[in-house]
Each structure stands twice: as C-alpha cells, then as structure tokens.
C-alpha cells in the first residue's frame, strides 16, 4: 500500500538546512567529549570554555536561530516534507500476489503546526537551560573536571529531541526517542558514584524500555497495515480508508503504551521522581520540559488517524483510554505531591500531573475528532492540549531552574556558614554531611533574599495552577472545558473530566504549599538566613521565561489554540491581536453556554481560591521582622500570613493517617515493582540459570561421562585424552553410516 501524497514535498528554502538543527548538536557531542578529555583540568578550558559550556552554547544558539527561521517560514498554515534519501531498502513478499515488492525506509524532514510548536519549545529551552547550566554546573566543586561529560551528553540529548520533532516518519521518531532515552540514562546517572543515582538511572531506562517494547510492536503493526511508517504514506486519507479500524486501534494503542512510559504516566510513572537524582538542569530540560513531552508528541501525531472520515466512531475507545490514563495520573500524582518535602520531587510529581492533563486534553480532542460533526471542537481541544504543553514546558522549565537556583544558593550558604563554624575545613566535606539542600523543611522566608528566583517561582506556580490571565490558565481552562464537553456526550468521560477538575484544586494546593514553604514564613534553618543570589548565568533564563509565561495571553490572543491544530487556519488572517484577545476573554469568561459558564468559574474558584487558600492556612506566614519582599510578592506573603492566623488549623490527624503514609510511600508502586523485579524475575532467572547448568548441560555431561566409561572399558589401552574421543566419534560415525546405508 505504498504511495503517499498527503503532504506537499518542498525542495528548497530553509528546510534544506533543517537537518543541521539536528546535526550540529550531534557533531558537538564527540567534539566536547574529546576536547574535555584532552584539556581536563586545564585553566583555559575551565575558565574560558567553561568546560565545554561555551562550546555547547553557540551550537544551541545556532540550532535555535535555524529553528526560528524554519518556524517563521512554516508557522500557521503550511506544512511540508523534505526528503533526504533512503535509509533501508528490502524485499517483501506480498501475500496476495506472491510477488516480491521493494520496500524502503526513508529519511527526511517533516514540518507542520505541531512540529513548529515543539521545535520552538525544544530549541528555545535547550538554549536557555544551556545558559543556566553554565551558572549552575560550573560553580559547584562537585562537578569539577567532569562538566565536559555533562555538556557532551546535554548536546546529544538536544540533538535527539530536535531530531524526534523534525523526523518525517514514525521510525525516525522512535530512533531519536531512544537516543533521548540513552541521554536521560546517562545524565540521571551523572553522579555515578552515588548508588541512588545508579539505581535511578537503571530504573528510568528499564521502565521506559518496557513502554518502548510496546511502541516497537505498535510500529511493526502499523507498518504491516500501511507498508510504510512515513507520515506521507500513513497520513494519506486514501491509505487510512483501506485499513481495518480494529487493527489500527490496536496498533495505536500499543504505541500509546510507549507514550505512557516516556511521559511517566500511570502505571509506568515510577521512574520520573527518582530521575531527580540527575543535576538540576537535566531535571529542568529532560524530565520536565522536553523529553517527557515526547509521549504527548507521539499521541498528538496520531490526530490524522482519528480525524479521518472513514474511521469515524471507530477509535473512540482508544481516545477514552488516553483520557482515562491522564485522569488517573493527574489525581494520583497531585496527591503524592501533597506530602513531598523535597523541592524537586514536588516539581516532579507536578510534571507528571500536568502531563496527565495534556493526555486528557488530547484524549478529548481525539474523541471529538473521531466523532462526526464535532471537528470544529476537536481543533480547539487539540490546540488547548498543545497550548498546555507549551505553557507547561515554559513554566516547568523555569520552576526547575528556579528550584536549582534555590538549591544552589542553599548549598553555597551552607558551605559559608559551615566555614564560619570551623575554619580551614576542607570544603568537600559539605557534600558528605547530612544537610539536605533540597528539603523544604530547611528553607523558608527566601522571598526577600532571592527576589528573582522567588518571582520566577511565583509566576511559574501561578501558570501551572492556572491563576486567571497567567500562562497555563488559558490552556487548562480549555482542557477542562473540552473534557466536560465530551463527558456530556459520552458518559465514560465523566471520569477523566471529574479527575481534571479535582486536579485543578489539588494543583492549587500543592503548588502554593511549595512556594509558601520555600519563600514565605521565617527561615527554618540558619542556612536559609544566609542565602543570596550571586552568579549572573542563572537569573537570565529565569527572567526570560517569566516574561514568556506572563505573555501567554498574547499567544492566546493570536488564536494559538486554533492555528496550532488546524493546518487550514491562516495565521493572523482571521483576527488581529486585539480582536483575538477580546474574543478569547469573551470566550472564557462570558461563555454563552450556561454549563461552560458555570464550569469556568467553578474551576477558577477551586483552582485559584480553595487550593491556595488551604495551603495558606497551613503553611502561610510573614517574613522575618524587618525584611520585605518585592512589592508584587509582599501582598501574597501578607495574605498568607493573615489566612494562616485566622483560618489556620491542625492537620496532624491527617498527616499521620494511613493515607498520608501511603502517599509518602508513593502508593507502594515502587515497592511492588521492585519486589516483582527482584523476587519474581531475578528469582526465576536464577532458577533458570541453575536449570541450564544442571539439567541441560548435565544431560550432556552424563552422556559424556558414560561414553568415557564405556570407552575406557572397551579400550583400556588409551589414556582418555581428546584423541580418544575423536576416535570414538569416528567409530560412531561409521556405525551410524552403515546403519543408514542399510536402511536406505
């Protein structure tokens, strides 16, 4: 079923150079590694090249600029493909004609609205987090002389992410997908000497590998249906029409399991919190802003199958499963985030929960696309999910960098106070004592000491929570509204729809809790009193991303949710910016449909008032006497302090309950999985190994020793050496041969 035609082939323009977006970082990988190996410890290398950081940065800037040029050419309406060549060609017996056909896997670049959006997210964040890394990694003595490894793996990862986004077939998507997995593994295990990091790296790779196995099976099934994995062929309407819907749904379902693993969704979510063992820039880039989006990207790529007229109504079950997995994860991860004390772990569970939102949004969009007459809503729902992906990536990247900034300064402050106590101590010591720079119990009251970080954290949290007008608000409203829109039609969707609504309140609670515990109240330790911002590399990306998050209203006004999902939608042609913003405000706050009108205000109420209110009551507090935060944060601190005084309550009963323990134990998933792996699988393997040694090999040994005995008895003359056996064998051959000769 070869032969495509869904996509315009483009032979010229900036797309010819698009391959360099991927190749540049990929080539930088060996270069940085090699230079780092040679110049390790050299002062010029450390100071001027930042141990590779300043080699990686221009590369990432170049990739970003190229990406921008590409985006400008393709944003909005156009989509296209640029074929580079054939990678594999092979023969295939057509079962109907019994003839051998020539088949091939190609290589190429494919661009459409989804690509454009993810390309921007990936290249932009890679560049910003590279800047951040220079500030974060190169000032910590624990990283001395191994930062080149960090930057090499960092650029290789960027190459994988950008490659996955630009690939023109599911095969190359998968290839780059695995490349990212490798880099994730290497970077989680960056501090290889720590057993916890080694364990976390293995866990991450293995858990995602289980998903990948299903992804491979799904791809194989898809290939079998279409005879190709190129988007050009599989998205072609004529080809989709010829495929059996049941088989297609199965293939896509298998691929979805791969997405579940990569995007850390229930039940393959266990690796993401442990992945925080990696350096913070890695958490920010890979485990929050880019790689974990790969699963979402894969599901988003399935849109054309659902939107095909011939598939109408046939794939809704899969759409429901996608939404339901999202719903379960959204609530579960948010609940576990309630009890986390580690700053990065809260963010990890928050990432999980927000990705689950996007899955629910995509599920709803796919359901709408697969239902005749709902195409109009499908576009908006799909756009909302993608928009949330964008907002979340920006906000979460920023939150992780801000958390990194806090942890970094906590470390430094700890180091300094340590020095005040006993002079002349080797500074390596502070990595071995039990002070936890990531624990929120050691922080508090940092709002006045780290104004830029606190602001970034505030805006990022607000964006994740969906506080009106900021960042994620616009997209989260869209996801909740569309989930409910589907629920009104298909009662099964009440489950994910209720989950995302409940999740909004939970997000409000745990994000506020995190900010308040870190930045409001009095400093809880001496270390927290001595914290201050110092290196210039860290705040730059924070400030940039703060503005991006704040300005997402402009993107909303640019009808992001429409053009990001509808290739036919001409960019800017429909409405100008002001009209667009007015339309968006009307649409959200004054929805003509009574149900959605009420729903919006319920969501805002629980997400922006109930959740944060509870968090303020429990964790609010004013700063230390005489200290003041910036004017935009001081009212929030004051409010939290007032709520805490008036409405504060004792939650120790809840905190000591069994449910709370279960949440601290991450609902026992990790324990069970570890037990299953170690007891069942490894146990079985050990038994198998013993069986192989004793029974399979034992049989042979018995035959051997018996024949040896016989031979020594029959022919007592020889010594029992190898010659003996050869003679035996030759004799045996003769006998068997004679027997055969008689028989035939």
């Amino acid at each position: 079923m070869a032969g495509g035609g869904a996509i315009t082939t483009i032979d010229s323009g900036i797309i010819e150079y698009a391959i360099f977006i991927v190749l540049l970082p990929m080539l930088a990988f060996p270069i940085i590694l090699f230079l780092g190996h040679i110049f390790n410890g050299n002062q010029t290398w450390v100071k001027s090249a930042k141990e590779g950081g300043l080699i990686a940065l221009p590369i990432m800037v170049a990739s970003f600029v190229l990406s921008l040029l590409l985006i400008v050419e393709f944003i909005g309406a156009s989509q296209g493909e640029y074929s580079i060549g054939t990678w594999l060609s092979f023969g295939w017996i057509d079962a109907n004609t019994m003839e051998i056909d020539d088949m091939a896997f190609g290589v190429g670049i494919y661009i459409d609205h989804v690509t454009v959006m993810l390309l921007f997210v990936a290249s932009f964040l890679c560049m910003l987090i590279n800047i951040f890394s220079i500030g974060y990694m190169n000032t910590d003595p624990i990283n001395d002389n191994r930062n080149h490894r960090f930057y090499a793996e960092f650029v290789l990862f960027c190459s994988g992410m950008l490659g996955m986004v630009l690939a023109d077939s599911f095969l190359w998507l998968f290839i780059f997908w695995e490349l990212m997995g490798l880099c994730s593994y290497l970077l989680i295990g960056f501090y290889y000497e720590k057993p916890s990091a080694a364990y976390a790296a293995k866990k991450a790779f293995l858990t995602t590998r289980i998903g990948d196995v299903f992804l491979v099976i799904g791809l194989v099934m898809l290939w079998n249906l279409f005879g190709s994995l190129d988007y050009d062929v599989v998205f072609y309407e004529g080809n989709i029409a010829k495929v059996d819907p049941g088989e297609l749904q199965l293939a896509l379902g298998m691929m979805f399991i791969g997405a579940v693993g990569k995007s850390a969704q229930f039940p393959l979510h266990v690796w993401l919190p442990d992945a925080m063992e990696g350096p913070t820039p890695v958490s920010a880039l890979i485990h929050a802003a880019t790689m974990v989006n790969a699963g979402l990207y894969l599901v988003a790529r399935m849109f054309p199958f659902f939107a095909n007229g011939d598939m109408a109504g046939e794939l809704v079950d899969l759409a429901f499963i996608i939404a339901a997995i999202g719903g379960i994860t959204a609530v579960m991860a948010a609940a576990i985030a309630f009890v986390q004390d580690d700053l990065k772990k809260v963010l990890a569970y928050s990432t999980m929960s927000q990705l689950a939102y996007i899955f629910t949004g995509l599920g709803a969009a796919l359901w709408l696309a697969n239902t005749p007459g709902k195409e109009k809503y499908a576009i908006v729902a799909f756009g909302a999910a993608l928009f949330h992906l964008f907002n979340h990536a920006m906000a979460k990247g920023m939150l992780f960098m801000a958390s990194g900034s806090v942890i970094h300064e906590m470390h430094h402050a700890h180091h300094d106070t340590h020095h005040h106590d006993d002079h002349g101590d080797d500074h390596h010591d502070d990595h071995h004592d039990d002070f936890d720079a990531q624990s929120m119990s050691n922080m508090g009251g940092l709002a006045s000491k780290m104004p830029i970080t606190a602001t970034a954290m505030l805006v990022g949290s607000a964006s994740i929570m969906g506080l009106p007008f900021i960042g994620g608000f616009w997209s989260k409203e869209g996801i909740i509204a569309n989930a409910w829109r589907v629920a009104l039609e298909d009662p099964r969707f009440f489950f994910p729809a209720a989950c995302v609504l409940l999740g909004a309140a939970m997000t409000g609670f745990y994000m506020s809790r995190m900010w308040l515990k870190t930045f409001a109240g009095k400093p809880k330790t001496e270390v927290a009193e001595h914290v201050h911002e110092q290196t210039p590399w860290i705040p730059i990306p924070l400030v940039v991303l703060t503005f991006v998050s704040l300005s997402s209203v402009i993107l909303a006004g640019m009808m992001f949710t429409h053009w990001s999902s509808d290739t036919g939608y001409a960019f800017f042609s429909d409405k100008n910016l002001i009209d667009g913003m007015i339309y968006e405000f009307e649409h959200v706050f004054l929805n003509p449909d009574a149900f959605f009108f009420v729903l919006t205000y319920v969501a805002i109420f629980i997400g922006a008032i109930v959740g944060p209110g509870l968090a303020m009551a429990l964790y609010g507090g004013s700063l230390k006497e005489g200290e003041k935060a910036k004017p935009w944060m001081q009212p929030i601190v004051n409010l939290s302090s007032r709520v805490n005084k008036k409405r504060g309550f004792d939650n120790s009963a809840w905190a000591n309950s069994g449910l709370s323990d279960a949440l601290r134990e991450r609902l026992y998933f990790d324990k069970w999985y570890d037990a299953a792996m170690l007891k069942l699988v490894v146990g079985f393997a050990n038994i198998s190994a013993a069986f192989d040694r004793n029974v399979v090999d034992g049989t042979i040994k018995t035959i051997e020793s018996t024949s040896q005995k016989i031979s020594t008895q029959v022919r007592r003359l020889t010594t029992g050496s190898a010659r003996d056996y050869i003679m035996m064998a030759a004799l045996g051959v003769l006998v068997i041969y004679l027997l055969l000769g008689v028989m035939i």
Partner: protein
C-alpha cells in the same frame, strides 16, 4: 589467495618456532605477532579494495542467488571429482570482510598478552580456515575448512585458556565435532543419492531446483532427513538451545582473542551453513520445518536472555547473550520473508562486530582486575573511565540502541516476524526488555556506584586500579567506530544481502516481482 596465504604463513611460522627451545620461543613472540598483524592487515586491505572496486570491478549489489564473483576453480582430486572452487556472493562476502576486519583488531586487542610464539600464528590459521569456509564452493572443501577451524581454536583454548581450559577445550571439540560428523553423514548421503554426483555447490543448487520445479528433489521424506542432519550440525555451531551449553564453557575459558573470533565469526559459520546448504537445497523441507525452526529460535532467544539475568560471571553473561542473539537468526529464517532473511544476515554481521567488543571488554576486565565476577569492581567510571565507556558502548549496542548496528537487524526482524507469527511477537518484545535489564543491571554493579569509597577488588591484592592500555583502547575505538558506521549506514552491506535474499527467495520459491 586469502585462504592459502594465512594458513601457509601460520604453518611456516609454527614450523619455524617449533624447533626453538622455550626461552627462545618467548623472545620470538613479538616478531610472530608483527608478522601475523601485517598479514592480517594486508588481507583486510585486499577485501576492502575488493569491496570498493579497486580489485576486480564487481557490482556488489547486483549479485543474484547462485552467482559468484572472483570465482576460481582448480581440479583437486580428479578421481572423486573434488575441486578447489572458491567464490563470493552477497551472502559470503560480508562474512569474509568481517573475518578480515576482526583478525587485525583481535591482534591489536591482545597485543600485550604474553602468549609466546604460537598464539598469533594460530590466530592466522583460524582466520584462513574461516575464510575458507565462507568462500568454498565445493562441498568437500567446505567440510575440510569447517573442521580445520576447530584445530586452532581447540589449541587456543587448551593452551591459553582459564582454569578449566582442558575440560572446556575437549567439550568444545567433541560437541561441535560430533555435530559436524552428523552433518558430514548428511552431505555424503546426499552425494550418493544425487542423480549426477557432484561436489560443486553451484551445480547442486541447479540440480535441486530443476528437480524441485516438478516435484521434490530426492523425495520429501529424504529431503526432510537430510535437512535435519545438516541443520543439526549448523544448529550446534550457532548454537541454538538446547545444544548451547558448550558455548559458555568455551567462552569463559578461552583467551580474549579466541573469544572474540569465536563469537565474532565462528558462530556465524552455523548460520552461513544453513543458508548455503539446507536452505538453498531443500526449500520444501524448510517450509515443512518452518515452525520448528521458529520454535528453536524462540527458545534460544528467550531462554538465553533469562539465563543471562541469572549470571554472576560477566563473560558467561555475554556468552549467553550470544545464544540469545543467535536465536534472532533462526527467527529471521523462519519468517520466510526476504526481509526476515536479510535481518538474519545483518544480525550475523552486526553481532560479528558487536560481540567481539563485548568479549574484548570482558577480557580487559579479567586482564586488569583478575576477576570476572559482576560486582567485584564498582565505580569503574572513576577508576577506569576508558573501560567503563567501552563497556557501556558495547552493552548499549548489544541491547539494540538505534543508530548502532544491532538495531537495524532487530527492527527488520520484528517486522518480518509479526507478519509471519503475529502475537508471538510478544516474546521477542519481552526479550528486548530482559536484555536491557541484564545489561543495565550489570552496569549498575560495575560502572556505577562506589565512587571515592570504592575499594579495588580483592583480586588486585592492593595494587592500584589500572585502566585499559593503548592497544586495547585502539581496538575498542575501532570496533565502536564500525558499530556506529553500520548502524548509521546499514546499506553498505545490507543492499547486497537484500539482493541475495530477494533473488534466493524468487529462485527457491518461484516468486515473481521486481
């Protein structure tokens, strides 16, 4: 030429050194090593130039089934019709090239081994015999070289092996020799049953296909018996479960160079033989036993992987992983798709590059830490970064990371397998996960952990922890470079393999198309 020169040279070197006393023989180690290295390098140069077109001008991607290039034929034993006939095609050339590639690399990797004067000549003899197997077009000649490969390997294990080398060498020899005797029986029976008796493989294929066109050559029952006899010899060599137990013993006891050649090329003799003889001659029997071959392959694949997970010895684990990977070849054959056969051929080739790297790593581990136990050494990334990097690269290549050679074969196999056997694909899928599990787990316990607090293993007796030396580094880098090369550009050899499989299928099963 490629066959004769190394064997003659090795015999010459062996003769020269055999008359020396032990001390002089020690001194003679370096010159024989250099001689062996130069000869093997020259052979690599010749095959590479053959491929690139400097020697002969062959359209490699257009060689059809049963056509051969660089064909030479001389009468050997006239009375019996035995000839010295050699030639290469899309099936054998990648293997020949691989052998010539691995010989110099193996010599480099074991450059500093204190091996005396006979080790490297034996290596040369092994290489020559292996090439002989791959290029032989005469059945008799094929069998002679098939058995000849055993001799240098037997002595390599016996003389330079580990603690139980005597047992392992005998087991290796008897096991595979018995199997090849059964194969010989099959070959001879076939010879006597033929209408026009010939030892020429090319003519046999013509004769068989002519008879198969209007019926079944020799009758289906005979075909089945012969097919089983021939396959038995090749299955033991591959090795496939349940005949695999000689492999771990042989590998664990064999010296590094021996292991590298054993895993890299010798195992592939089995797969090569299957394609060259039973499959090319008995397509009907192949169709009959298709399912059985698949089951043997599946059992090897799954069983090998599970047993790997239960190993505590690094080299044994890698040896069992070979069993597992060789199962893929049988699955490819059983898929009965050109794609599956090409996957099998590419698996032979890819595994031929990757597994020597795995064994080189194991050898270096043993060499430097005097231990093979997983967990004897932790935090290798700190103490021996080069070895740790090589190990991680090899492990990752072996578990099928994309853009490295192994992935191409696995991907192709999965596609062909799903088409033929549907949901049984869950087992190869499972193996993908188990493979990742045992490799990652072993890395967690060797490369990672420990850090500054790591104590060197007890087997070092307090000596400082060494990293690999320069010759080992060069060998690892070369193998890694070729793994990447064939992972990124698989078409270099895949295209000719594809041509061979497509034309073979058309020829054997009378299919149309293209």
């Amino acid at each position: 030429m490629l066959v004769i020169v190394p064997i003659l040279a090795s015999i010459l070197l062996l003769l020269m050194t055999s008359r020396l006393n032990p001390e002089a023989r020690e001194k003679f180690g370096a010159p024989t090593r250099m001689a062996a290295f130069i000869i093997s390098l020259a052979m690599f140069g010749v095959t590479t130039m053959m491929f690139l077109g400097q020697i002969g001008d062959v359209g490699w991607n257009n060689i059809e089934f049963n056509n051969f290039e660089f064909k030479e034929s001389y009468v050997w034993i006239e009375q019996l019709g035995i000839t010295w006939t050699v030639g290469v095609d899309g099936l054998s050339f990648p293997m020949v090239w691989l052998t010539t590639l691995l010989m110099p690399i193996t010599i480099i990797a074991t450059w500093n081994e204190k091996a005396g004067a006979t080790y490297f000549p034996l290596m040369l003899m092994l290489g020559g015999a292996l090439i002989g197997v791959f290029v032989a077009l005469d059945m008799f000649m094929f069998y002679v070289f098939w058995e000849l490969t055993l001799i240098p390997m037997f002595f390599m294990i016996l003389k330079w092996g580990g603690k139980d080398r005597k047992y392992a060498a005998q087991k290796f020899f008897i096991y595979t020799f018995t199997a090849s005797v059964i194969m010989l029986l099959g070959l001879l029976t076939m010879y006597f049953l033929m209408d026009t008796q010939t030892f020429s493989m090319q003519e046999m294929v013509v004769q068989a296909s002519g008879a198969n066109a209007n019926g079944v050559w020799l009758g289906l029952e005979v075909q089945k018996v012969l097919f089983i006899m021939l396959m038995l010899g090749f299955l033991v060599k591959l090795p496939a479960a349940p005949f695999h137990t000689w492999l771990p013993d042989a590998h664990v006891q064999a010296p590094t160079g021996g292991s590298m050649m054993l895993a890299g090329v010798m195992l592939k003799m089995g797969a090569y033989g299957m394609f060259r003889l039973p499959i090319s001659l008995f397509p009907h029997a192949l169709e009959t036993f298709q399912y059985a071959i698949m089951m043997i392959g599946l059992v090897s694949l799954v069983w090998g992987a599970i047993v790997c997970l239960g190993q505590t010895n690094l080299k044994k684990m890698v040896a069992y992983s070979s069993v597992s990977h060789m199962g893929v070849i049988l699955l490819g054959i059983a898929s009965m798709q050109p794609l599956g056969w090409a996957a099998a051929l590419f698996m032979m080739f890819a595994h031929g590059i990757i597994s020597p790297m795995l064994f080189a790593v194991c050898g270096a581990f043993k060499h430097h830490y005097h231990s093979m136990e997983i967990g004897a050494m932790r935090g290798m990334a700190k103490h021996s970064p080069w070895l740790a990097t090589s190990m991680m690269f090899g492990w990752m290549a072996s578990l099928g990371l994309p853009l490295l050679a192994g992935f191409v074969a696995e991907l192709m196999l999965m596609i062909a397998y799903w088409d033929a056997y549907g949901w049984l694909i869950i087992f190869p899928g499972l193996v993908l996960a188990i493979t990742a599990a045992y490799y990652l787990w072993s890395m967690q316990r060797t490369i990672f952990e420990g850090g500054e607090a790591t104590q060197p293993p007890e087997s070092l007796h307090g000596d400082p922890v060494p990293d690999i030396d320069n010759s080992e580094k060069v060998a690892m880098l070369l193998l890694a470079a070729f793994t990447i090369l064939f992972g990124v550009m698989p078409w270099i050899f895949l295209d000719m393999m594809d041509m061979w499989t497509q034309s073979a299928m058309k020829f054997l099963f009378r299919l149309g198309g293209v």
